[in-house]
Every structure is written in C-alpha cells, then in structure tokens.
Symmetry: C2
Subunit: 96 residues, 2 copies
C-alpha cells in the first residue's frame, strides 16, 4: 500500500471552484483499479496556507500512476488552484 498526500493552495473565495474540480477528479480516481479510499481535509481557518489537504491510499505505486490517464489530465487542465502531490509511507504512528 502507498499513501498519497496532496496539499492545495486555494485562493480566498475559491473553495467552491476547488471542490467542483476536486470532486470530478476524485470520482474518476475512485473508479480506477487499486484505489483504497481517502479523506479530504478542509482547514478551520480560511487563511491557512493549505485550505485543503487530500490523503488517499492506493494498492501500489503502479496503480496510482496508471490512474493518471488522459481523463485525469483533461480534468485538471484548468484547475483554479495549485497542488503539491506526493507519495508517502507511514514511518511513525501512535494511537494512545
């Protein structure tokens, strides 16, 4: 399993436009093989550097890469926000 984290810088007042694009992309991704779920985080403060953060899980790096197809590229072509996507592994965890 691999963890995907994407931090979004969204202009003030641009939350609805962000979510409209994000939801379309997410619907596409959820239909691809190897998608294991996600949580979308919204900052409590509208002034946060990253207004939204998405954390998703995929079965493998290959499955994640394969999902970035033509449909994906078309959906994000005019996205009204900047993103910082990356693949991660969990290296430290505690649940008291």
């Amino acid at each position: 399993m691999v963890e995907f984290v994407n931090c979004f810088e969204v202009p003030a007042g641009g939350e609805d436009a962000f979510f409209a694009v994000w939801e379309k992309v997410n619907t596409h991704m959820r239909g691809r093989p190897g998608y294991l779920g996600h949580e979308l985080f919204r900052s409590l403060s509208p002034q946060a550097t990253f207004r939204f953060v998405n954390h998703a899980r995929w079965e493998s790096v290959d499955a994640w890469q394969a999902a970035h197809d033509e449909t994906f590229r078309a959906l994000v072509a005019d996205a009204p926000f900047t993103s910082t996507p990356g693949l991660y592994e969990i290296v430290h965890t505690v649940t008291p």
Copy 2:
C-alpha cells in the same frame, strides 16, 4: 475532534536532524491532555516538496492550543526545517 496537519520542508540530507527534533516534540505532545494519535508520513522520493507530513488528532482546539507551551517553544526554537501547521476537519471521505 480536530485534525492537525503539518507539512515539513526538510533540506536534502537533513532527515535525521528533522526526525530527532520531531520525535522530541512528538513525545511532548503525546503526553499532553487531549492527544489522540498521529501518523508521520515520509515521501517515497527524497525530492518531494514536503519530505515529511504529520497528521495528528486532538480532542479539541483548546487541548491543541494548550499543548503549545513553553516546553514546546523551547523544543522547536532551532528546528532545522520549515513547517506549515494547520487545524482541519474532514469534509469528504470514502472507503470503498
């Protein structure tokens, strides 16, 4: 409950120095009232913008704020990395 997300920019080769500071801060935080757990993410690529991302959960905003005491401030005073901390709520989630 409130979600805390912190994205860390760590200079290449600075992973051990980052983790040494992060672990001390995390040990402090884990002992504060209202701490509910965390996962520390490390990027698969050393070139990722955010080499580490921490996701923690707290019982409340007040508990999170109270943990940022003198001990915390001393621990992060000379941290060899930049961080982008913020409080979040989960607004969309799917687990297929």
